[in-house]
């Protein structure tokens, strides 16, 4: 009986038989030099043990999380029997010969399996199946989602002590999946959000400074095409609406760095008949330290407009909430044609204050009273405003898993991490916050259609130019998997047939009756 009769089957199988079948070697001599150091290793096994030690070192260097998991175990191995010590450690660290291929299973499969209840969750991982490293990864992933949903359910029912212990279990489970990608990464963010909700409800929403937000937004713009799609589609529709007009005014509900506007300015510069006079009113949060970030962005845009010979005027409106903006602040001139541009802003108005009701209705009212030629609305295509916590949680898990999936293709690590933090803030808001603090109240396109229709707007079809442009833009991205779809005149951008963001254009319905 030799040390290789143990459960290790991966990796060592090629050399495990040699100790019993080799001939002509002094198989049972203990190496003298190592014995002096306290290690008993057979001379015939020296080479194999050395190879395995090298592999153990590689595994420990590459997977420090798994090693710390090991450090918490109370099992002790006897290192003087070096050969079996190395083998036991390698088996503990689940090191298969072939690296697991996580891309064969999308995260949604885990969720689907768990929800359908078809998978028997087996938390006891069999060490005998080491060569199927992928299977272990799958099992852990499925179990992770299962416990995550159970935890969300307990939060939903108000059983916070149960939720707290489930969160601890989840944090333990996280160590056995790859936290850098796939289900591990998404689950990590949701576990973090749940633990904020359970353990620190007061400080639940991540403190956001406007500056940080703008930086994160910029990296989100770079790492994936959702914002670019929004900007380019909106610009195309606005350009078409402005055709033939000489005095145009764009009202941007969230200026940020003004990344949307250079392309519109350039397109207006090159339009047949020459550029119009363009006024841009940018709404944004007030800057804390007296330095006027809105004005700075306005200056840069003005510089660009001047270089391409477009007459341009900028006005900044600082408001921390959109419903603080009053229409007189926008100074709309009756002779100019107005375009309202709202990229992921309207959903923030859906929360309702018991005394004042929902701010969305008065805001839609004054937008309509501006008589805009076009109102561009781009919103997340998700149902994160349901009254029941569990429904919101489940929907958010699907939505953000898909979004993280699409992000995986982007390779610049720093930008990707910052974009992920941007998404993480949204997740935290959806999961942790309630009442007026919860601003990420995403609703799907069908609901926006009803809402906008009821507020006196009719839908404008985004033409084929917008569709072609969006398709080309997508073709330029390295990841294949994005898809643009047309949905009754609106465009949606999604990942693998799950739409994630929807763009629609509206105009004020003409008043049929002359009096109410």
């Amino acid at each position: 009986m030799g040390p290789y009769d143990s459960s290790v089957s991966a990796g060592s199988s090629s050399s495990s038989g040699s100790s019993s079948s080799c001939s002509g070697k002094p198989a049972d001599t203990i190496d003298g030099l190592l014995a002096g150091a306290g290690y008993r290793v057979r001379s015939s096994e020296l080479r194999q043990v050395a190879q395995r030690l090298a592999r153990l070192e590689t595994v420990m260097v590459n997977a420090p999380t798994e090693v710390s998991h090991l450090a918490n175990d109370a099992v002790h191995y006897n290192p003087s029997d070096l050969a079996s010590w190395v083998d036991s450690l390698l088996s503990e660290l689940h090191q298969p010969e072939i690296a697991p291929d996580p891309s064969t299973f999308s995260d949604l499969n885990y969720i689907a399996h768990t929800q359908a209840g078809h998978v028997l969750v087996n938390p006891m991982v069999s060490h005998r199946e080491l060569s199927a490293g992928t299977e272990i990864e799958e099992d852990s992933g499925i179990r992770l989602v299962h416990v995550l949903m159970t935890c969300a359910e307990s939060v939903h029912r108000g059983e916070l002590s149960l939720a707290a212990s489930l969160i601890e279990e989840l944090q333990g489970l996280l160590t056995s999946v790859d936290g850098e990608r796939g289900i591990g990464k998404v689950a990590g963010y949701f576990i973090d959000a749940l633990s904020r909700r359970v353990f620190a409800p007061q400080g639940a929403s991540l403190a956001d400074s406007a500056f940080e937000n703008a930086v994160l937004y910029h990296h989100f713009y770079e790492a994936c095409p959702y914002l670019k799609f929004a900007h380019f589609t909106a610009n195309q529709a606005i350009l078409e609406a402005f055709s033939g007009h000489d005095c145009v005014h764009v009202i941007d509900f969230n200026l940020m760095h003004g990344l949307q506007w250079p392309a519109l300015i350039q397109a207006l510069a090159l339009r047949p008949g020459g550029p119009p006079l363009l006024r841009l009113t940018g709404i944004g949060p007030p800057s804390p330290d007296g330095h006027d970030s809105l004005r700075e962005i306005g200056l840069r845009l003005a510089e660009l407009a001047r270089s391409v010979n477009v007459r341009f005027a900028f006005r900044g409106v600082a408001a921390s909430r959109l419903d603080d903006v009053k229409p007189w602040m926008l100074q709309v001139n009756p002779k100019e044609v107005v375009a309202v541009n709202s990229i992921m802003q309207l959903h923030k108005l859906l929360g309702s204050d018991p005394s004042r009701g929902s701010p969305i209705d008065p805001v839609l009212g004054w937008i309509r009273n501006l008589n805009p030629k076009i109102v561009m609305v781009v919103e997340q295509e998700a149902n994160h405003n349901q009254p029941e916590f569990l429904d919101r949680f489940t929907e958010a898990l699907h939505y953000y898993s898909t979004m993280f999936d699409s992000l995986e293709a982007y390779s610049a690590q720093l930008e990707k991490s910052l974009a992920e933090i941007y998404i993480q803030r949204e997740i935290c808001n959806v999961v942790c916050c309630e009442g007026l603090a919860r601003v990420e109240r995403h609703e799907p396109l069908v609901k926006w259609r009803d809402r906008l229709g009821g507020a006196g707007f009719t839908s404008l079809h985004l033409g084929s130019n917008a569709f072609k442009q969006a398709s080309m833009l997508l073709a330029l991205f390295s990841a294949e998997g994005y898809c643009v779809e047309e949905n009754e005149g609106c465009l949606t951008l999604g990942w693998h047939s799950r739409p994630l963001i929807a763009a629609s254009a509206w105009q004020a319905m003409p008043n049929i009756h002359s009096h109410e």
């Binding site: 910029h218 713009y221 770079e222 670019k228 380019f232 610009n235 760095h257 003004g258 990344l259 250079p262 392309a263 300015i265 350039q266 397109a267 510069a269 090159l270 840069r300 845009l301 510089e303 660009l304 270089s307 391409v308 010979n309 293709a409 982007y410 390779s411 610049a412 930008e415 130019n465 072609k468 442009q469 080309m472 833009l473 073709a475 330029l476 991205f477 390295s478 990841a479 294949e480």
Partner: protein, 166 residues
């Protein structure tokens, strides 16, 4: 027998009479005509030959011709805008070349039989998209440099530099 020497000289071997040597470097207009017909990569290589060729090859008019010689119909009024945003050479390097190669590859895969990118005819929309992306590049450099223009491609266009994962 005609030989093209390393320094651009063209010389005839085995001449019986005295004929003046034709040196391309003395005939800039001919050189420009030749360079006008090259594709982007060759034009870039030509710029590495010597200082004189570098100066000529960097002439924005050559790159303008390269960007739009196959565009049908040719865009009008574009030049002042492109010059203001950084010039045709930059437009080609930052936007036109990656856009053409990506979209060209898509087309070839979809089944258009053209393998020669240079002879592809641009659609108006591809031109417009390239120009818009170029404008975004200019603006981001404006933002990043605090008002001064840097040279590196702006961050949101870096995606154009990566190869397509097929």
């Amino acid at each position: 027998m005609v030989n093209l020497l390393q320094n651009g000289d063209v010389c005839m071997e085995e001449l019986k009479e005295e004929t003046p040597m034709f040196c391309i470097n003395d005939n800039e207009d001919v050189l420009v005509e030749i360079l006008r017909r090259l594709d982007g990569r060759s034009l870039g290589s030509a710029a590495c030959v010597c200082k004189m060729w570098c100066g000529i090859a960097r002439n924005d008019a050559l790159w303008e011709h390269l960007c739009f010689r196959h565009v049908s119909p040719p865009p009008s009024g574009v030049r002042p805008v492109v010059m203001a945003l950084g010039g045709y050479r930059r437009l080609y390097m930052v936007c036109v070349r990656p856009v053409l190669s990506r979209l060209g590859r898509m087309r070839v895969r979809v089944g258009g039989g053209e393998s020669d990118l240079v002879s592809r005819v641009w659609t108006r929309q591809e031109v417009e998209l390239s120009l818009s992306l170029f404008c975004v590049d200019y603006y981001e450099r404006l933002l990043g440099g605090g008002g001064k223009l840097g040279d590196a491609p702006a961050s949101s266009l870096i995606f154009l530099c990566k190869t397509v994962n097929v």
